[in-house]
């Protein structure tokens, strides 16, 4: 497998509870993405982040706002993928 970097939207949260609510929100609405460890480039420390395609930003932000899921930040960074 080759190591490549792909632009990704990374959503971080103030709490683990909020991160899990994001996953539930996205599953219920059929929005793509998955949970990853928070990349150090976004925030040092620990925790969970939601990774999805950059073009999903507006729809995801609207869904999270509608469900009252608090968000720390939405950042587009290049993340590692194996292809």
């Amino acid at each position: 497998m080759a190591r490549v970097r792909v632009p990704s939207l990374v959503v971080t949260f103030p709490t683990t509870a909020a991160a899990m609510s994001c996953e539930e929100c996205c599953e219920r609405r059929g929005l793509g993405g998955r949970m990853i460890p928070v990349p150090g480039e976004v925030a040092a420390g620990c925790g969970l982040a939601w990774k999805t395609a950059p073009e999903a930003r507006e729809e995801l932000a609207a869904a999270l706002a509608a469900d009252g899921v608090p968000v720390d930040a939405m950042t587009v960074i290049e993340l590692l993928e194996f292809r």
Binding site: A2, V38, G40, C46
Partner: protein
């Protein structure tokens, strides 16, 4: 899934533990609350668990084993109950936030003075610095038995000698070692040992506590239901009730009892720890020397003082990326980031990128370790 995150929790539990919890949930009342058969059965389970944990940790008095929800709760209770306003505590950069944050709170709220002993380049505690910091007037030395980042072990018997020579108490955080590294409170002259049930002991989450040596006065941290002396205005001071306000997790303790029995019947913590160490050493030897891989901790210089963790990074990659690649590409569960141990990461220079922590457990097999080595090699070769 290949589960190599046993330092976070041992996900796989002995069958006996699962069975014990299920049976308890269908049969136990509230320990110490009434004389129904269910309540008495719960009380019996709790007592047997107390006795089993006391024997495992070398605590001479079973009634000085006090249960709580986890190590963090026990450490908060112990630190708050031992250290008074303006007193001095010495701890180390190896500690988890479950020690660092309660001490920070005591510093803020009680004016407690906290000093931190450092470590060497391999993450081993600088015992000489600790000895210099522990001066007459020091109330407590709080130290982990094993780093949750590197797995490096600490000679807690030596720490206790240093503490007692200065008239201080010695508190040991055994979160990472209970059940996997032998501890003998009496022989090692330890004053307080805090433990969790769900890691090396392989019991349920929601179990843990502290074992306290005779003569050590840990003031109650919470007051409330005790099942006895209901008309007294304040919580009773008798052991173990003084540190167990409210209903105990008898269901969880039934599982913890089964777990401790499994460990004892399987040869004790030394036997379990030896197996986990053997797997970790295999993992270390597999990744050591791989171009682009940096391994942290004491493996290169003193493997006998290492636990069951291999901590590493891959050049050019964030620890979260490596952990995600291991999970998404190879189905390997591990832990990236800071592991709630900020001073350890600062000492190792990994504050920003974190560390990839692979931790072996009793249920891991050699082929799982070898698969992890292959995956790390492939990621590093990128």
């Amino acid at each position: 899934m290949i589960y190599l995150d046993n330092a976070a929790t041992t996900m796989r539990k002995p069958r006996e533990v699962v069975d014990a919890v299920v049976a308890a949930m269908g049969s136990l009342g509230n320990a110490g609350r009434g004389a129904s058969e269910g309540a008495l059965d719960a009380g019996r389970v709790v007592l047997r668990c107390r006795e089993a944990v006391a024997a495992l940790l070398g605590c001479p008095r079973a009634d000085h084993v006090c249960f709580s929800a986890n190590s963090t709760a026990a450490l908060n209770a112990a630190l708050s109950g031992l250290v008074g306003p303006g007193e001095r505590v010495v701890t180390t950069v190896l500690e988890h936030n479950s020690v660092l944050r309660p001490l920070a709170r005591l510093a803020d709220e009680r004016g407690v003075e906290v000093a931190y002993a450092g470590c060497d380049a391999h993450g081993f505690l600088d015992m000489d610095e600790l000895e210099r910091l522990v001066c007459p007037g020091t109330r407590l030395v709080a130290v982990t038995h094993g780093s949750n980042v590197t797995g490096n072990l600490v000679d807690v018997a030596r720490v206790a000698q240093i503490a007692h020579a200065a008239g201080a108490l010695c508190l040991v955080d055994a979160s990472q070692t209970a059940g996997a590294v032998p501890l003998d409170m009496a022989a090692m002259d330890l004053d307080v040992v805090c433990f969790t049930g769900h890691k090396g002991l392989m019991g349920p989450q929601g179990t843990g506590g502290m074992a306290v040596a005779e003569g050590v006065d840990v003031r109650p941290w919470a007051e409330g239901g005790s099942g006895v002396h209901s008309f007294e205005r304040r919580h009773p001071l008798e052991w173990p009730t003084r540190l167990e306000a409210g209903t105990l997790n008898a269901h969880g303790l039934a599982g913890l009892l089964a777990a401790v029995r499994c460990i004892e019947e399987g040869g004790g913590p030394a036997a379990f720890g030896a197996r986990e160490h053997e797997l970790a050493q295999r993992l270390y030897e597999g990744v050591a020397g791989v171009p682009g891989v940096t391994v942290y901790g004491g493996w290169p210089v003193a493997p006998e003082r290492c636990g069951s963790i291999v901590a590493l990074n891959v050049d050019g990659l964030d620890s979260a990326e490596v952990a995600d690649a291991l999970s998404a590409g190879w189905g390997i569960a591990c832990r990236a980031g800071a592991h709630c141990a900020p001073l350890m990461h600062r000492a190792l220079g990994t504050e920003r990128r974190g560390i990839v922590r692979l931790s072996c457990g009793w249920f891991n097999m050699e082929d799982e370790v070898d698969a992890a080595v292959d995956a790390v090699r492939e990621i590093a070769a990128g």
